[in-house]
């Protein structure tokens, strides 16, 4: 187990390296002229040439990449072309905000999705199953930018229980309670599609597992249903659920830009989006690299957890410490 984990951790390095190369290349493919971002679109060709030379943009790509990577390894993500300040100052606080939102949304999705999935599987085929299954699907497929607004109408504008926008009060804000009240609506809105997916995958896997032979045997032996569910079925059904759960957290980290826009949540998604359309390449590179690191760590965790849950998987993952 330990060896497996260490081996798996070591593999993070080439993945991140690969990601950094892809990020670097993608940015080269992005449309538009970088110098006009810096000098303004009305800059003369001559001035642009000078700047290109100054920035080393006329050097071969591998050289540029090497320089960039060397700086990144020293914690220097460069300076934002648009905001004229160190990229790290921009992206780290925003990443924390996004992680908070994505983490809360994932948590809600896990609880909601997993419990509804297990219950519907246990009662598969009943009216309860049908209703809950349909309800989860409906909630999950409501467009976020629409559902979010309805939530705001109800909870922020009508009942005035919760704030409508932002992460803290603009005036005199701060503190855990303030953040928490601001967090509720966007987190719930963001969690719904993930909750629906997790619920369905849980239900499907549970039903699949419950129909396996050993469960049937257990049931034939007269073991109580609850115990079967808890002790046998759940554990064996977990790997796909954990996999999907991890992916959903990853998806939420990188994919809640819409929620961030609708709730004016100061997150990284919005920064990335703005940096992309503003062609603020150092910010795009830095932010994507941070997100990539998070994704890779999530996948790593998922693989390790799955290996722990299922010895057979562990063998397949390359662990030999049995």
């Amino acid at each position: 187990m330990v060896r497996f984990t260490i081996g798996r951790i070591l593999l993070v390095v080439p993945v991140l390296l690969g990601v950094s190369i892809i990020v670097f290349m993608l940015v080269q493919l992005a449309p538009g002229d970088v110098t006009s971002t810096l000098l303004g679109p009305m800059a003369s060709e001559n001035a642009k040439e000078v700047l290109r030379a100054e920035m080393g943009l006329d050097r071969p790509l591998p050289v540029q990449y090497g320089k960039w990577l060397a700086a990144v390894l020293q914690g220097d993500f460069g300076t934002s072309w648009v905001h004229k300040r160190p990229v790290s100052e921009i992206i780290f606080p925003k990443f924390v905000n996004t992680a908070l939102l994505a983490g809360s949304a994932a948590l809600i999705a896990y609880v909601l999705g997993f419990s509804s999935g297990v219950f519907t599987a246990a009662k598969a085929g009943t009216l309860f199953d049908r209703i809950v299954t349909a309800l989860m699907l409906i909630l999950g497929s409501i467009p976020l930018y629409w559902g979010g607004l309805v939530l705001v109408f109800l909870f922020a504008l009508t009942w005035r229980w919760l704030p409508a926008t932002g992460m803290t009060k603009t005036i005199g804000g701060g503190g855990a309670l303030d953040v928490l009240t601001h967090l509720v609506l966007p987190a719930v809105a963001a969690s719904l599609p993930s909750a629906a997916l997790i619920s369905r995958i849980t239900r499907a896997t549970m039903i699949e597992t419950l129909s396996q032979n050993y469960i049937r045997v257990a049931r034939a032996k007269g073991i109580r249903r609850a115990i079967i569910l808890r002790k046998h079925a759940l554990r064996n059904a977990l790997p796909p659920i954990v996999t999907v759960g991890g992916m959903e957290l990853g998806y939420l980290l990188g994919g809640i830009v819409l929620i961030e826009v609708v709730f004016a949540w100061p997150g990284l998604g919005f920064v990335v989006y703005n940096a992309i359309i503003g062609r603020d390449l150092p910010t795009v590179q830095g932010a994507v690299l941070i997100l990539a690191l998070a994704f890779v760590l999530i996948n790593l965790t998922v693989d390790v957890v799955n290996a722990y849950l299922d010895p057979a998987t562990r063998a397949a993952e390359g662990g030999v410490d049995r």
Binding site: S80, V82, K84, V152, P163, A164, T170
Partner: protein, 529 residues
């Protein structure tokens, strides 16, 4: 179902509309903070290298120029007033501007303001050998001909500066104050200490507000400058919140999380007002939404086609239905904000039959395809889609090539390429010189914004004559003469509408003036309990 579900929502929201003030005023009692909801993020807080209206709005609170347009009045036409210059004289030949500077003014960092500070700022883009020379500032200033206009800047004494121009020019002051970059005076100490690249994070001017911090893509916070030379600002703090999504902007206002929002969605304005919020507009905002034709494209050279397009677009419909009356049809390229604007001038009114006739005459009876470059700028392309539909009715198929704002600018600034027939822009300045910029032969890219390559030497003579005319009324007539001739006989553009710049305010806000401008003064804004 949802409709009946939402009806009580709307009603309750209306009643509860003011409870939201609690959010704001609770903690605001000790210190008053005005929160303004901006529709887009602003670019850098360095006035010499910014063009966007959002940045100008923030910069206006922090920095000041020698001469400024008086934004404390909503009247049109606007007046120039001395700001850092108490007074100025223009020599009889219109080439020498002498400024008598205000004394006892200090920058936010304590640096005293004087003639050297002014010279230092001008040298930032005029003197390639100066240590503070900025290539970017040069590029921006060249775009508005500041470089071409100015011959020299001389310090006469500690508080007198003389700017000598290359030729007579009576629009110099307005050009400098509100064109693409703004001729504001930045603290020389700040430039020396932080460098040219450091100004955006250390914006230090002499204005009524001081910069505190900027949270990129979220907000920018300013605090009152208690040592301001003039009348101190009323509120202690001024926060600009970036709320790009129109629905979110409205929600923030309704929930009492901001005091004002710019550009509420037009469809929603009515209901916002019904809920007790105050709407301010200005019918003479210097904003014009227009299409430009590519005069270099063989297809577009026939003026009848361009006239037909002008006839085919139902501008009245756009103003009424899309803008809900928060804009009015534009008939010329002199926008409603400039003193040279003639409200009675009419060029083309909606007449699809006339358009079809002209197209028939020009040999386009079987219809034609045109490529239209369009920017994505948060309005949902409502107007563009409307134009697409109107033109289809007279047999013109319009292909919309949508581009992100920056990508669009990259394609717009160098002038229209061969692959495009027309493009769009929303712009406008109070100086009528801006209109001339869009027409003059010598202002085609890269030397200016005549991006449709229009050229008519007779008209250029009129524009030059206008520039050299000292009397404002005479100047206005000359500009009107040229613009109306071009519009009627050889339209280089299709002006669509003048925008009224709607801003919705929380009822607790007083003292805000929606001046005929695209940015506003916040120093007189007050919050009442």
């Amino acid at each position: 179902m949802l409709r009946s579900l939402l009806r009580p929502v709307i009603a309750t929201a209306a009643v509860a509309g003011f409870a939201g003030a609690v959010f704001v005023s609770d903690s605001a009692r000790a210190e008053s903070t005005f929160v303004y909801g901006m529709p887009a993020d602003h670019s850098v807080l360095d006035p010499h290298v910014t063009c966007g209206w959002m940045a100008k709005m923030v910069n206006y609170q922090i920095y000041e120029g020698l001469v400024e347009i008086d934004l404390h009045s909503a009247d049109w036409p606007t007046k120039l007033k001395g700001q850092l210059a108490e007074s100025w004289e223009i020599s009889d030949d219109g080439t020498e501007y002498t400024f008598h500077l205000r004394q006892g003014v200090r920058f936010h960092d304590g640096t005293p303001f004087n003639a050297d500070a002014v010279k230092f700022n001008f040298d930032r883009f005029l003197d390639k050998d100066a240590p503070q020379f900025s290539e970017t500032a040069y590029a921006y200033m060249d775009f508005i001909r500041m470089i071409g206009d100015i011959k020299s800047v001389d310090v006469i004494d500690d508080f007198t500066v003389k700017i000598t121009l290359n030729g007579p020019n009576y629009e110099f002051l307005r050009t400098g104050m509100e064109d693409c970059p703004q001729m504001y005076i930045i603290s020389p100490t700040a430039i020396e200490t932080h460098g040219n690249e450091g100004i955006p994070l250390n914006p230090i001017g002499t204005g009524p507000f001081k910069f505190v911090e900027r949270d990129p893509t979220v907000s920018t916070t300013l605090v009152r400058n208690d040592d301001y030379w003039g009348e101190n600002a009323k509120v202690d703090r001024l926060i600009f919140r970036i709320l790009e999504d129109p629905a979110t902007r409205v929600n923030a206002l309704l929930a009492g999380e901001v005091h004002a929002i710019q550009d509420p969605p037009w469809d929603e304005i009515e209901s916002i007002v019904e809920e007790g919020f105050v709407l301010t507009t200005n019918e003479n905002a210097p904003t014009i939404w227009y299409l430009s034709f590519n005069m270099r494209h063989p297809l577009m050279q026939d003026p009848r086609l361009r006239q037909a397009i002008n006839y085919a677009i139902n501008k009245e419909g756009i103003a009424e239905q899309i803008l809900h009356g928060y804009g009015k049809p534009a008939h010329g390229m002199l926008n409603a904000g400039t003193y040279a604007y003639d409200p009675d001038f009419v060029s083309y009114t909606y007449d699809p039959d006339k358009a079809r006739e002209l197209l028939e005459e020009a040999g386009f009876g079987d219809g034609l395809d045109l490529d239209f470059d369009v920017m994505i700028y948060g309005t949902g392309e409502l107007t563009e889609k409307w134009i697409q539909r109107d033109l289809k009715k007279v047999g013109i198929n319009l292909n919309l090539n949508k581009m992100e704002w920056l990508a669009y600018l990259d394609k717009w600034v160098p002038g229209m390429a061969e692959d495009v027939h027309m493009n769009e822009m929303v712009w406008g300045e109070q100086t009528p010189r801006w209109t001339a910029f869009g027409y003059r032969c010598d202002r085609v890219p890269p030397h200016g914004n005549n991006i449709g390559w229009y050229c008519n030497e007779d008209m250029d003579k009129l524009f030059q004559q206008a520039l050299e005319t000292a009397d404002e009324a005479e100047r206005a007539e000359l500009y009107q003469e040229a613009d109306s001739w071009i519009m009627l006989n050889d339209p280089a553009n299709a002006p669509i509408y003048h925008y009224f710049n709607p801003i919705a305010l929380h009822p607790s806000v007083t003292g805000f003036t929606n001046a005929p401008s695209n940015w506003w003064d916040f120093s007189r804004v007050e919050l009442t309990e």
